[in-house]
């Protein structure tokens, strides 16, 4: 618990509730209302061309206005949704459509890529997993000479892009806005693989636990896991479709070479979907496996009950018969065994014979004694 940051806890609360949308039904279309408790925005601007690059941390709108159109590409990497006025100002400066700004500020959005008159708008979620699945919304706008990315919290997702931008005359530096957009989308998609790996480990662990012992705890964890897989599918499915649409009918500002890279992105999204399908099937299998395990164990329990009853009921009956108060002294017909010298050993022997007969019967039926043999055949098979 304590290892989760405040943000993580915030995330978790969001994910735990079935309905996690923010509703502002009585607003006009395009109204920017920031999420409760959102962080104050920090703007990190990088403007570059093949052989020059400028970086400004904690930039202001004024500084951005100044830098605009001075360099082939300006990347504004914003973190924190907590200032509606700033968002609107930025939108005005870059000519962003009000509806796209509203979507950016409304958490969570379904993954999509939308072509507005003056810019592309892409939105999806960045996942992290530390026992619970946490999701952070990321919006990307690409227009003439600028890319604006806006995340909810600071994270290391875009560090790789920033690092590559330092390489003078590298592919990213020499390419335009479209390639930077690709690089960001690629970085977001790549952030799913570690989460898939962690989920895979939880599956493997759960597999082992169900195999070893079907404790009731498993069922809740299985359900959580299945829920997480479904939630990821619900994000990646439309993301894959959106990139597929982009690749099939690309906006004109995307070059042929960048398209090949977007195709690679699509391929990664398809791989993620494949893995999630795999996990979904694994989840169903686990549930079936668990249910059959319960049935199997109930069967075993009932067998124990049946064996014990079947052995002791006849024995108790025999004991009961010899406990009847017919007086062997009164009539020759009344339980002559009671007067026999070896009556007691005879009765005990009779019981032993009955008990052993039953055991033999159960053994032949395979209800007892063969258990270990079977266990072996499993190991060998």
């Amino acid at each position: 618990m304590s290892k989760k940051s405040k943000n993580g806890a915030n995330h978790r609360a969001r994910q735990r509730k079935r309905f996690d949308h923010t509703i502002h039904p009585h607003t006009r279309p395009g109204t920017v209302i920031v999420p409760e408790g959102a962080l104050a925005p920090l703007l990190h601007v990088t403007a570059y061309g093949p052989d020059q690059i400028v970086e400004k941390r904690n930039a202001t709108i004024a500084q951005i206005r100044e830098l605009r159109n001075k360099y082939p590409v300006m990347w504004i990497d914003a973190v924190g949704l907590g200032d509606a006025a700033l968002i609107e100002e930025m939108g005005e400066l870059l000519g962003l459509h009000r509806l796209s700004l509203e979507d950016m500020a409304t958490v969570p959005q379904r993954s999509k890529v939308e072509d507005y008159p003056h810019h592309l708008f892409a939105v999806t979620q960045i996942p992290t997993y530390n026992g619970d699945l946490c999701l952070e919304q990321v919006s990307m706008f690409a227009g003439k000479g600028f890319v604006l990315s806006w995340r909810e919290h600071a994270g290391n997702c875009f560090d790789i892009v920033r690092k590559r931008l330092q390489v003078t005359n590298g592919t990213t530096r020499s390419s335009g806005v479209d390639y930077l957009l690709y690089a960001l989308v690629d970085a977001v998609i790549d952030s799913y693989f570690p989460v898939l790996e962690q989920l895979g480990e939880v599956f493997d662990e759960l597999d082992d636990r169900v195999e070893a012992d079907s404790e009731p705890a498993c069922i809740a964890q299985m359900r959580d896991l299945r829920h997480d897989v479904r939630q990821l599918r619900r994000i990646v499915w439309p993301l894959r479709d959106a990139i597929d649409d982009l690749v099939r009918s690309p906006p004109e500002q995307i070059t042929q070479e960048t398209l090949i890279h977007f195709r690679d992105c699509h391929d990664h999204a398809v791989q993620i979907m494949d893995t999630l399908e795999n996990y979904r099937d694994a989840g169903s299998d686990l549930r079936d496996y668990y249910a059959t395990s319960i049935s199997n164990r109930m069967n075993e329990t009932i067998k124990v009950l049946t064996i014990i009853s079947t052995i002791f009921m006849p024995l108790s009956f025999i004991a009961g018969v010899y406990g009847m108060n017919f007086d062997a002294h009164e009539s020759g017909w009344d339980m002559p065994e009671l007067r026999w010298k070896y009556g007691y050993p005879f009765a005990m022997g009779l019981m032993a014979v009955v008990a052993l007969g039953q055991l033999w019967f159960f053994r032949r039926r395979g209800w007892i004694g063969k258990g270990k043999q079977r266990g072996k055949s499993v190991d060998e098979g």
Copy 2:
């Protein structure tokens, strides 16, 4: 019960029956037959342009005829389907197709947008939820210079649009009929989110109840919930498709900018579908969870039975043996224990050994005593 208005009760009766269509099979196509018990219509007319606006509550057909084509846009907001003659008169005045009027008066209709020669026709349902899901039909007609909306009951769904109309030179006031139609459709779609939120809360609550204790009451509520989710899906699915068709091949009277707004509507409809899919999966999960809980508990019950039988049957058998009437005084072979000084303590000790042996066996099998340990591991896990 008493907190539901008369209308609510009416709604509920509709929803409770599996077959909730009104059938008038022996009528010619386009016959307007109003639902039983429908309210008398009230017409609220708002005619406006960018800088002028006129409102008439409880307007008459004559007043509407007079206002027609005097302002760029006339919005007739009708409430109550209870007057077939009025509906037909209105249809004649505005040139509405008979089949669309019939659909408007026939409750419930499947969501759809239809392009008639002289007007667009859209129909869908407005949901409310207060334990039961209630649905109210809303029809919208958009032709040259007018939008006609017709609901079953007065509600606050369109208040937001009316309020925005008051803003002189606001987007709605400056735009045409197409934007007003969008604003109404948007308002209808926005009315689903609070219902989804309430359903989500019921799910969360049900989740907790199933986890805490699997009372039989849950099963009926689960079923109701699943039914409500399915009913909402059945409304939103065709609505989403209809808006998608509208966006893909828009009628000419819809401008480019309004289309972008309709795309936003579509996006909301898709989000609602996503949430409903989520709820559907949650419903299946809950059902599986409940079924497994019953199995688990049955298993526990059978374990108790088996433990008690396995412990007491042998004990009773031993007691039965020493209750046999073999007379230790008659033959040295006859239950010599009865004559031992410590015979009774020996018998009791034998029973104690058997009982403790069984307990040890069950503990080793994990059937008893480890319960609490497990509970902990769940909390910690």
Copy 3:
């Protein structure tokens, strides 16, 4: 049983068998073989234009040949498939394709609309429901100046069309062959709604019965109902598709206005499908509900068994112990209780303590006594 007509019984026999097709594998394509026991055909001819109308009941082929092309529209409404020669003669007179005649005479056909060189051919089923689902085949041919409809039995399905034809200068009278075809298709589709309503009532009733008491009778009825719903789906699904095809790529003889009416037909077919989907889900839900009810009841039964065993086994054991024949007179160690003055009350008290302890334990576990409380919470919830 006795309330079913002979035809109904005939229908039922058809529906009861899994395979209900007639096979004539060794015939050449286009051979008309009438169903066994089919009624002798009766022809009812109505020829009309906007201001004139002629009707002939029990018309002969000769009379039809005479009337042909004398009026804008001639409607031949045939009932009874029992005369192959007549069918072939009619086909020759009107220029109908042999394969369409074969389909008409082969019961049952899958719903379809086929465009033959000289005529349209539509075939589907008219349902009735009186405990069992009965289906009657109806074929419709529309060519130049004529519409031929052919049903298996007389019914009131087309009465509404006939009645509307009496209105001089009414829409039907003033329109052509295409509108009459629409009117007939519409009448057929409208005949599904009462059946849906009846099925809905059976569902509602079954719902109540499963809720009240899960008698084994339910399961067979559920299965029948699910089967009926599936059978209806199998008829309406292709019918909806066929009308959709007709509306999307209409044959030239269908006017724009009639197309709008066919779109309304399509809409009704979609509503029927929606309701059938609803019923299908309701059927699955009922089955799940029933299965869970059985589990719940088994659980209750096992609880009773466990409670009774858990209470009486220890009591019987105690009684058994004091029934052992250790003689308290022989050794001070031998069951001193037997010699106590209050030994018997002590033993009975011990038993009472054990029994009450168990009851307290079961009550705390919620196995007994809280039942009514729960029942209440269901009513209140």
Copy 4:
């Protein structure tokens, strides 16, 4: 067993194995390798035009070469795949593509219609059912002036076509290669209906058996039946698609009139699919029904156990109490009933009261005695 011919047994062996393909992985594409144990081919040639017809049984390749192009249509009906050289010779004579020859000789193929540069190639399976589903591959080639059909075994499937060919100036005789191909495909499709009828009867019979008594034997038969239905679906599904493709984009050698006949074929294939869907659902229903029956019966068994335990455990306890050895002669507190005059009748009466109380309780719970009443309501319902 003995009533199956050698061929039937051969078929069965094929069907019984899950993997029934022949693999020749190390051959070059187009290598003809005949199945093991295939019959030696017999060629039956029929060459005809509208007014002449020649037939040659057991024809040789030389005879076929001679007959070629002498008549409008030459139909070579081959039976038996056992001679690779002959197949290759035939392929060379008629200009058949190597890959189509390979497919013909490789059993089983998925149903398909392929358009090779110089001929059409169609392949599918002919089913027969006599308890097991047997499948025989049939390949058809249609090129300029010839149709070649090749089956695995002699059967009566094409007799109907041969008979129709005898009719001088009949449709088949007057039409070309395309109509003969249609007639053969139609004959193959018609061969599915008797099999569906037989499967339907097995379903009906199984229905009755499950209803009457849920013997374990049913489950294996159900599984076989479901497997057969799936196998048929897997054949007819692609066949239907292939004919649909043929009808939608027909090769030029197929005339308009023949196309209408192929549409009829497609219609039949769709009907077969519909029936198979029906059977698939019936199979699922049967399985569910059987599972619920087991649950129901287990419930009944447990009820018997619970009733018997609940009645006799308290009785045995009472008997046990009066069997305790507290001596009524020693202390007034020690089981005074033993000394009562009517002590024994009192004890027996107590037991009777307890037993009757339990019976009354169980009757009120509906566990006993109401069974027959229910049975009646089923019959009446």
Copy 5:
């Protein structure tokens, strides 16, 4: 265990983990990072035309550069991914796109065929099965005058192609790069059939085991098998789609004749999918069968328990009654049977009557004695 080669063990480890992708998230697109433990590459070059052929085992990049464009076709068959530098060098030499090289080195890839500006790129998996499913990635590049295939390990998959290349003027030798690519793809697809055959055998074996005896071991094996089938489906499904795309819109370098061969490939892929669908259904059936078997057996166990309890509880009760200490000597009402001469035989007879009555009841209910009869009917049926 010991019969698996080191490579096999390596494979297995890969397959056992749910998440088997390699992640290199912090690399720029197109970076070649070879898998851990990959073998050092061996290049086997075959350059040929219709009448000349040169082979070089363990070729170097220099030798390949020399051979390039000297012969119509050069096939470089590489094995082992263990040298990133070599891969990059090869890519540069042949003009391969960086992203395709990255995909080749990243194991596993989803099956796909991609059209890069200067070459085709295909990647898929070669399966082997020896109890576990092992997968080996194979990448194929086809550009102007060359085909490059790159596998993870040496295998005999391409031996058949190499052998056919030896035939002077054979189809492969006389055809171009496109036909060689086809031959390789065909060889890969053919490698699935033996695996399907082996899986089919495991299914058949598992079928028999479940039928004979439902040991818990089966369930784990079933799950593994289902997992393997799903994994194969996930490979073959996109492979089939990729080849279908290739056939539908072929790149210009593929000739008409080669296309027909690729269509054959597609056909094989479809057959593999069909078989996998079959296996998937078989897997579901097996699981259902197993679950029903458990239910059936639990039912049998409970029957044994019920029979034994129902027989012995009344008997023990009777014995208990006659074990009560009412003294027949004290009161005439106190168990007079104890004083009867034939009291004991009477009691024993009473017990026998009760026991036989129960047995008769159980026999009539079909719980005992009819078992064998049923078993027979299964064998006969």
